[in-house]
């Protein structure tokens, strides 16, 4: 298990290095050139030359790359063009919002998806099964931003049951500990704040959860169906074990393996969905920041941002990969 981990970590390090190289190339390839983006349009050629010198753009490419790397290591991702603040700071401020939203969404997807998929598999051919399969098929086909917008129009604007935007009602005082409004509200005893945060979370989380929910339901159903036909389940049956034991130890333990893999793969798409959902609900997370940076062509922000998120997801994937080793003993032997 240890050798496996170390080997993967080494490969990861190499891969991340490659990633920085790619990003450097990407940044260099962006239209306009960095010095143009940082100057007003009527700058003279002299000014451009001066800036190029100052930015070190006349140095050999290796040196530039070296500079690039050293800045990354120091977590200096430059400053946003629009706000002037360091990209890292902007991200750090907005991260908790996205985390809270994503966690809620994935919790919904898992909490509803796995039981639903299991029931659909056990009652194959029933109305429940048909309903689960069709809704999960349709679920992946609905554009997230459209769903988010429709939910907002129907439930927030027209029916008024839920708030239309932001994480808390405007003007609400709150104490910040972790940055997760619901958790903070509970920890500090400000339950009204926590409840307000929950209300604001409902619509965006449901919209964001739609695709993961659909996928998890389908994979769980398919996986349970497959496992139930396996020989070892027949052996368990032949032993005369109680149905609950067969279900838990023999069926679910094996059926969950592909589901965990899928959840790992979904994390990336969860981010994409977050970008879209947050923009609809002005949720103030990393996603809305990306939206703004994209529409405003704020390249330094985008670049730093892409780098951080890319690294984050690569590491996250590694963790999921390794945890798979914990669940499936067969993987530990293979390297």
């Amino acid at each position: 298990m240890l050798r496996y981990t170390v080997k993967r970590l080494l490969q990861l390090a190499v891969a991340l290095l490659g990633l920085t190289l790619l990003l450097f190339a990407w940044f260099k390839a962006l239209p306009g050139g960095p010095e143009n983006r940082m100057l007003p349009d009527n700058a003279t050629d002299q000014q451009r030359e001066a800036l190029r010198g100052a930015l070190g753009l006349d140095e050999p490419i290796w040196t530039q790359y070296g500079e690039f790397l050293s800045r990354i290591v120091r977590l200096d991702f430059g400053s946003s063009l629009s706000s002037g603040r360091p990209v890292a700071t902007e991200l750090a401020e907005r991260l908790p919002a996205t985390i809270e939203l994503s966690l809620t969404a994935i919790a919904i997807a898992i909490g509803v998806g796995i039981p639903l998929g299991y029931l659909a598999a056990r009652k194959r051919g029933s109305w429940l099964d048909l309903g689960a399969v069709s809704s999960s098929l349709i679920g992946i086909c609905i554009p997230v931003f459209f769903l988010a917008a429709m939910l907002k129009v129907v439930f927030a604007q027209n029916l008024g049951w839920l708030p239309t935007a932001f994480r808390l009602s405007p003007g609400t005082a709150y104490t910040e500990i972790t940055g997760l409004r619901v958790l903070d509200g509970i920890l500090t005893g400000e339950f009204d704040v926590a409840w307000d945060a929950v209300l604001h979370l409902v619509l965006p989380a449901v919209a964001l959860a739609s695709i993961p929910l659909a996928v998890i339901t389908r994979i769980t159903r398919a996986s349970v169906l497959e496992v139930v036909g396996e020989d070892y389940v027949r052996t368990a049956d032949a032993k005369g074990l109680k149905p609950a034991v067969i279900r838990g130890r023999h069926v679910m333990k094996n059926a969950m393996l592909p589901v965990v893999t899928v959840i790992g793969l979904l994390l990336g798409s969860l981010f994409s969905g977050a970008v879209l959902t947050e923009s609809v609900f002005a949720f103030g997370g990393v996603g809305s920041f990306v939206y703004q940076a994209t529409t405003e062509r704020d390249y330094p922000a985008l670049m730093g941002f892409i780098l951080i998120i890319a690294v984050f997801y690569v590491v996250l994937n590694l963790i999921v990969d390794l945890s798979y080793g914990l669940l499936d003993p067969r993987v530990r032997v293979r390297s």
Binding site: A15, C141, P143, A149, S272, T294, R297, A310, V314
Partner: protein, 320 residues
């Protein structure tokens, strides 16, 4: 035994054999047969066929030109007046006074283009990358294995990065336009296909018929091109169908983020949907038509893809 009795015997054998009707034929023929019986496959195929029909015939069957703002004076944005469905305009008008029905019909073509091109880019590039990796790993000796490892680790990283980021990076390089969106979505699909094809080819490479071919002295290149590659295509084709469905949706998302065609003249369902977002409270139909179009089309391709996957699954093949 008399001739009559032999004939009677034969007839009895027939009767017995009916209870054991064995399915025969190649993998493709079997799967096609199975698909003809599956309601999922049939509905998917109908939707896809309808979509392709509309897409191809588009401009010829649309009642009005899709870009003509003929009824511009009947639309009042500030008062949220959008003429709805009526005799002349079955789907009503959009915010610039254009006939929605025509725009939907003509838009099918661009939408199809977006989906097909994006999928093709992902498929082609991914297949090459995955194929090279698999071939290198199987036949390239130690260096081949290293090359494969490097390629696959890069693919893994690309897979880990959220699709939107990949697409954003590409879009930032190319500037906003419809081609950008197509290419961006296409590039984002490359890792999926690369991983899939490489896995598929590896599975084939370890199968017995390849071992047999190698031991018979068949050249490696021939083995890879004529044997392994064609047999690995099954799951990849399934994936391509599914990817087509989501490519259209992802393209719409990119348009929503402002990376699509800034000039909303040529209709495309994704851009139409993105543009209509601002009118959702006042005139939701502007968004609902393209949304339903996208959802149903994506659903059609998904149904077809899923049905194909089920029918190609060798485990589900009945034993005689």
């Amino acid at each position: 035994m008399t001739l009559a009795k032999i004939e009677r015997l034969d007839r009895l054998v027939e009767a017995g054999a009916q209870a054991r009707h064995a399915e025969s034929g190649s993998l493709w023929r079997q799967s096609l047969r199975r698909m003809k019986r599956s309601p999922m496959a049939i509905s998917g195929a109908i939707i896809v066929a309808l979509f392709l029909l509309i897409a191809i015939l588009g401009p010829w069957i649309a009642p009005y030109p899709a870009t003509a703002q003929t009824w511009g004076d009947e639309v009042f944005l500030n008062r949220n007046v959008f003429p709805g469905p009526r005799a002349e305009n079955w789907f009503g008008l959009d915010h610039l006074g254009r006939d929605m029905f025509s725009r939907m019909i003509v838009g099918a073509r661009q939408t199809m283009l977006v989906g097909v091109v994006a999928t093709l880019i992902g498929f082609a590039a991914g297949a090459v990358i995955g194929g090279v990796a698999a071939a290198a790993g199987t036949f390239g000796g130690r260096w081949g294995e290293r090359i494969e490892a490097v390629i696959m680790r890069t693919v893994d990283i690309a897979l880990a990065i959220p699709m939107l980021l990949l697409a954003l990076s590409v879009a930032a390089l190319l500037g906003p336009s419809l081609s950008t969106v197509m290419i961006a979505v296409g590039v984002a699909q490359i890792p999926i296909f690369a991983r899939l094809l490489r896995g598929s080819m590896l599975a084939q490479a370890h199968s017995d018929y390849v071992l047999a071919a190698v031991s018979l002295g068949v050249r490696k290149r021939r083995i890879v091109l004529s044997h392994i590659f064609p047999n690995s295509l099954g799951p990849v084709i399934v994936q391509a169908t599914l990817v087509l469905a989501t490519a259209i949706i992802e393209a719409a998302a990119l348009s929503y983020l402002g990376l699509g065609n800034p000039d909303p003249g040529t209709p495309e369902w994704g851009t139409m949907l993105a543009d209509a977002q601002r009118f959702l409270s006042g005139a939701p139909q502007l968004a609902i038509y393209p949304a339903v179009g996208i959802i149903v089309t994506a659903l059609g391709f998904t149904l077809l893809g899923e049905a194909m996957r089920e029918s190609l699954d060798p485990r589900l093949r009945r034993q005689s």
